[in-house]
């Protein structure tokens, strides 16, 4: 909503309040003023001139030599290229020394040998937006009315010296979608009275209801329909002040009849529609629901097909307008129109919203009806329209109104205790304080024994419940005046849940290990949605995606992380190590998909680089695995984790492991398949993804101190020769199993599969630590345990001691 400061002054005294001050006050008490714009800013020295003579330039077809009276001793000669310039016109003249928008300075000039002392301006050249310039002057200079005073300030005459406040209206404040609504708000803020327009005018004896009959069939959708009739109107230009105000409000002037309806739209917030009476051959208006498939050609010359839930204004036979949305082409007011019917109605918000949405047509009118207009305004606006038609279109207003009213307009009565107002806001207001606030708002309020009873005016449809009244009191009392306190109540200590603590621990471990946290999008495309997924489900798809690229919910985080890795490598960053925790979305057929929290990582390039000492370690499988191992240690689940060689789509068949927790696969770690990596422009890249749910579910084992052993441990190393296919993990497990309670630690310290080995064999060396916390072990005991180990590995894998 654009609010003209000068127009607002018609309803309220704004003495001593600058537009900026007003904007600040309005913002602070409820409606955000998004900007204050002075149209004439940066423009000066433009006056009204009278074109005394206008002749063709002898040297140039398209130029005219004008002698213009600008209210000085002598006329000035101005060369003008506008096609519509002519003798006798009153025009806007930028004199020599004038400045126009864009800091365009007007200087003396010579055009094809003729001197030019200034410029005759179009409205666009004075900074008026092209879409607001009336069609008549769109292609040339603007003409003032003949009574314009020569030499007067043209900017003032065009009201460009105004200040326009742009209000950012929240949906509840539809009441401020009108000048009068803003005046009420301003009045409450400044505590000054509001002057409403005088609505008196003369009528002729003929009665409106004798000329046009009004009936409403759909009374729920249209509770109030009023029609005024104005005869013998002269369609022409509107008075300059009205044009100025419309432009300030962001509406293009058209002709006096249309302009008057638009003027009232802004003044009262009531959309009006004007019909050409002579086109309503039936002499009646019937408001009803459209027939399914019924057609109408609207003002914009488009043919619209209607459904049976759309409200239409008909002549009893055919639709003449889509109620509250747009008028019909055939009954439109034209330059030839002589007799006019003015419609002022109240249409139900939901009906207009539905119609407008289904037809795909929004208008100034529909957007207001949708939000709800004041039902009392329909009558006021009809009177105002009749008055302005008689004053500015020379019309004869028929007496009375042809009406169909099916609404009992009542003010909503709301009661609230003073105690509640103070309790909810934390203030200490008196009854008198509260009543004074409602007085300023021009809202009727009474109090008795601490109970305040308010009649919410129909113009304030947003006031429905006690809390709405609390807001009115609080905002006018001033949010600044509300004290600052903290809740006084019994509370439990705050904190993170075990799950949240584990998430933070995971984060810290990943970052401590050298990974950088990434955040990627949950929405992905059809191809990526199931790639690398530990479990593939039917993808969860959006009904109306913005693009195919973001149309389905991810089932794995890895594709998104790989995208980030590839993004960076395309920017000379060859080494990356990312991790992310976030949800993947797995549909199990229920109403909501299963949202699983996963941890994923992606690593490529060098893991360690210390060039001058010759240290350079590329990322490999064991780097990725080591990071996970560190995590299992931190989480205290290392004992329950094992890795098994695995085959997965898009993963290297020989370098991928399933991560198994308590016998269930919870993740994967491995190298991205070189073919897939190439497709993504990646070098050798390793990834992991872990489902966290099982680990989150596990209760953390309490920490307990074990006595530091007082007896020494004994170490024995063994080198075993086995087939290459035997996994180190398998051997380790067998050793641990066979070693019994005395075997405390098994550590692999060498792997050899070079030329000195027999074909297909390898050597693995383990260091075994034996210990008994209660006593010193004897050699015999160790030998016995050790032999059991050797026997077991031999029996189960055929491994021999390396000789």
């Amino acid at each position: 909503m654009f609010v003209s400061y000068k127009w607002l002054e018609e309803y309220i005294d704004l003495t001593d309040v600058t537009p900026e001050e007003l904007a600040e006050k309005i913002t602070r008490s409820g409606i955000e003023v998004e900007g204050v714009e002075v149209p004439a800013e940066g423009i000066k020295n433009v006056v009204i001139g009278h074109v005394v003579s206008c002749e063709k330039h002898p040297e140039a077809d398209k130029l005219n030599i004008c002698q213009v009276d600008v209210g000085e001793d002598e006329t000035v000669q101005i060369i003008c290229g506008a096609p519509n310039v002519g003798q006798g016109q009153k025009v806007a003249v930028a004199k020599v020394g004038a400045v126009l928008p864009g800091n365009f300075k007007i200087k003396k000039a010579k055009l094809r040998g003729e001197a030019s002392h200034g410029m005759i301006c179009s409205l666009q050249e004075l900074g008026v937006e092209a879409k607001l310039v009336e069609k008549k002057y769109a292609e040339g200079i603007f003409n003032f009315p003949q009574n314009a005073e020569v030499g007067a300030d043209a900017l003032e005459a065009l009201m460009l010296d105004d200040a326009i406040l742009e209000l950012g209206l929240t949906p509840n404040r539809a009441d401020a979608m009108s000048m009068i609504g803003v005046a009420y708000e301003t009045g409450a803020i400044l505590d000054r009275p509001v002057k409403l327009p005088d609505l008196s005018y003369d009528t002729v004896l003929e009665k409106a209801e004798d000329v046009i009959k009004v009936s409403v069939e759909a009374t729920e959708e249209n509770p109030i329909y009023l029609a005024k009739v104005v005869k013998d109107v002269k369609v022409g230009e509107s008075p300059q002040w009205m044009k100025n105000r419309l432009v300030a409000a962001g509406i293009r002037p058209h002709n006096n009849v249309v302009d008057i309806t638009n003027y009232i739209l802004i003044e009262y917030g009531q959309p009006l529609h004007a019909f050409d009476l002579d086109q309503i051959k039936t002499g009646e208006i019937v408001v009803r629901l459209a027939k399914q498939g019924e057609k109408i050609k609207t003002l914009d010359e488009a043919e619209r097909t209607l459904s049976d839930n759309h409200l239409v204004i008909t002549n009893g036979e055919e639709p003449m307008a889509i109620a509250g949305v747009m008028g019909g082409y055939d009954s439109e007011v034209t330059d030839q129109t002589v007799n006019v019917v003015i419609e002022s109605a109240y249409f139900a918000p939901s009906s207009v919203r539905q119609t407008s949405k289904e037809i795909g047509l929004r208008s100034e009118a529909s957007s207001r009806f949708e939000k709800g207009v004041d039902p009392k305004r329909a009558a006021l606006a009809a009177e105002r329209a009749a008055q302005l038609m008689s004053l500015y279109a020379d019309g004869k207003v028929l007496s009375g109104t042809s009406a169909a009213e099916h609404m009992d307009i009542k003010e909503k009565v709301i009661s609230i205790s003073l105690e509640k107002i103070n309790r909810v806001t934390g203030t200490d207001l008196s009854e008198a304080d509260v009543l004074d606030i409602f007085r300023r708002l021009q809202i009727e309020a009474d109090s008795q024994d601490g109970l305040i009873t308010v009649s919410a005016p129909t113009r304030r449809g947003d006031l429905e419940i006690e809390e709405d009244l609390i807001e009115e009191v609080a905002r006018l009392y001033g949010y600044d005046n509300i004290p600052m306190t903290l809740p006084v109540h019994e509370t439990n200590p705050g904190g993170l849940s075990p799950r949240q603590q584990k998430r933070r621990l995971i984060r810290q471990t990943m970052e401590g290990a050298g990974l950088v946290q990434a955040v990627t999008y949950s929405l992905t495309n059809q191809q990526k949605v199931t790639e690398f997924a530990l479990e593939v489900k039917t993808p969860v798809e959006l009904m109306m995606p913005m693009s195919e690229e973001r149309s389905q919910l991810r089932q794995s985080i890895i594709p998104q992380l790989l995208e980030s890795v590839s993004y960076n490598s395309a920017r000379q960053k060859d080494s990356s190590a990312f991790y992310e925790t976030g949800s993947v979305f797995l549909s199990e057929g229920g109403e909501l998909p299963n949202e699983e929290e996963h941890l994923a990582g992606a690593l490529t390039g060098l893991w360690q680089l210390h060039p001058w000492q010759g240290e350079k370690k590329p990322v490999d499988f064991y780097v990725a695995k080591g990071i996970l191992d560190a995590l299992w240690e931190k989480l205290g689940v290392a004992e329950d984790i094992r890795y098994e060689a695995a085959q997965m789509d898009h993963m290297h068949p020989g370098r991928t492991a399933a991560v198994i927790y308590k016998g269930q696969q919870i993740g994967l770690v491995g190298q991205v398949h070189p073919v897939k990596a190439k497709e993504l422009d990646l070098k050798e890249t390793y990834v992991f993804e872990i489902k966290l749910e099982a680990i989150y579910q596990e209760e953390s084992v309490p920490l307990k101190y074990n006595v530091i052993p007082r007896y020494p441990s004994i170490s024995r190393d063994i080198a075993l020769v086995t087939d290459r296919t035997v996994a180190a993990g398998t051997l380790e497990a067998i050793i641990k199993q066979a070693g019994g309670t005395l075997l405390k630690q098994v550590q692999l310290f060498d792997l050899y599969q070079g030329d000195k080995m027999e074909e297909g064999k390898k050597s693995l060396a383990f260091s075994l630590t034996y210990m008994d916390p209660e006593r010193t072990l004897t050699d015999e005991e160790v030998v016995k345990a050790h032999n059991k180990v050797l026997e077991a590995v031999k029996q189960e894998t055929g491994a021999e001691l390396r000789s």
Binding site: T27, T170, P171, N172, R353, K371, R423, V424, G426, I465, E467, E471, A474, Y479, I482, P483, M484, T485, L486, P487, V488, T491, N492, G494, G495, L496, S497, Q500, R507, E511, G512, A513, G514, V516, Q517, A518, V519, T520, S522, L523, V540, L542, M543, M544, M546, L553, S564, Y567, N568, F578, G582, F585, E591, L592, E595, Q608, L609, H610, W612, Q613
Partner: protein
């Protein structure tokens, strides 16, 4: 004999003096003080001396020995010190060469902001609640006083999956779910961080996915002044003790009264600049007193209970705090962006 001893002493001391290393010095010691050394030889001739001269000569011989021994010890100490110094000199390194890098991962700036806010509210007795990102229309809208057909819930603005399921457009459904779980009993004192989604084209200021963090307190006697005081603590801790706050009336369907909170602009100190668009104030968050319909829907009696809620965008806060110009940076994971947040900011 006496002269011979003096000569030997002179000779030995000279050799000690000239010994180049510990080995040479040892040779000198063996040569002069050894059992077969010249002093012993000389002393063997003592028998020829008179009874008066014998002790005199003995004393002299001891003195010569002591002198030589002393000189050797002194020299040895010097040589040892020299040797150590030489070795240390050889071992010296260029301390300005780069150290071996240790792995240095770090958090995403949004996580840093969210955790800072979480920790601040945890210290005030809040717990952290979470909920699903794919949410029922009921919790996302209806339970929050946004019934079907409400203008503020245009299909165009949300990513629907079915008629009744959508990607949550705010974290408020977590509030609705938590209140429902409390089954009409206070206090509820939570903050809810998480990802949310809106049907926006990604550009410098819009992102179809972004973060939100909301707070909710419901109990008996929760006042608007409590909201104001809480937000004031938050603003000062988050943005600096010298920041002022102001509340402006606003509108949200789930709160009444509703407010927007601005903080005074740090850049210009309130005088007005390009960051605050000349107003001296920067909008930070929306808040309000929980709408009675929302309390009622969740099973709370609005006559007994009241509450406040607030919500903010971690992206916006990070953008303001760090001067980030494009919201898309948060989701491209460009190393040149992320690494600027490797450092921990201590305030």
């Amino acid at each position: 004999m006496e002269q011979r001893l003096q000569e030997l002493k002179q000779e030995a001391l000279e050799k000690v003096q000239h010994a180049a290393d510990l080995k040479e010095l040892n040779d000198v010691r063996v040569a002069y003080l050894g059992k077969k050394g010249p002093i012993t030889e000389v002393l063997k001739g003592m028998g020829k001396l008179s009874a008066e001269e014998r002790p005199k000569m003995g004393a002299l011989a001891n003195e010569v020995r002591d002198n030589i021994t002393g000189a050797i010890e002194e020299k040895q100490e010097g040589l040892e010190k020299e040797a150590v110094e030489k070795q240390l000199a050889e071992e010296s390194i260029d301390v300005t060469l780069p150290g071996r890098p240790v792995p240095a991962g770090h958090a995403h700036p949004l996580t840093t902001v969210i955790e800072e806010i979480e920790d601040l509210f945890i210290s005030m007795g809040y717990t952290v609640e979470e909920g699903p990102e794919v949410e029922k229309d009921y919790y996302n809208f209806e339970a929050l006083n946004l019934p079907k057909g409400h203008p503020a819930r245009d299909m165009q603005d949300s990513f629907y999956i079915t008629e009744d399921v959508l990607l949550r457009t705010h974290t408020s459904p977590v509030q609705a779910r938590t209140m429902e779980r409390h089954a009409g009993k206070g206090p509820v004192k939570i903050i809810c961080p998480g990802k949310v989604y809106r049907r926006d084209n990604d550009d410098a200021t819009h992102s179809h996915q972004f973060m939100q963090i909301e707070g909710l307190v419901v109990d008996e006697n929760i006042r608007m002044s409590d909201l104001k005081g809480t937000l004031n603590v938050f603003a000062k801790k988050m943005f600096g003790e010298d920041r002022e706050i102001r509340l402006r009336p606003s509108f949200f369907p789930f709160t009444e009264p509703s407010v927007e909170m601005d903080i005074s602009c740090k850049i210009c100190g309130g005088k007005g600049c390009s960051v605050c668009k000349g107003t001296g104030w920067i909008e930070i968050l929306g808040a309000g007193m929980v709408h009675p319909n929302v309390l009622r829907m969740a099973g709370f009696d609005p006559e007994k209970y009241s509450g406040f809620a607030f919500g903010m965008g971690p992206e916006r806060i990070a953008m303001l705090k760090y001067g980030i110009d494009d919201i898309r940076h948060f989701y491209t994971n460009d190393d040149r962006f992320l690494k600027q947040f490797a450092r921990k900011e201590i305030r």
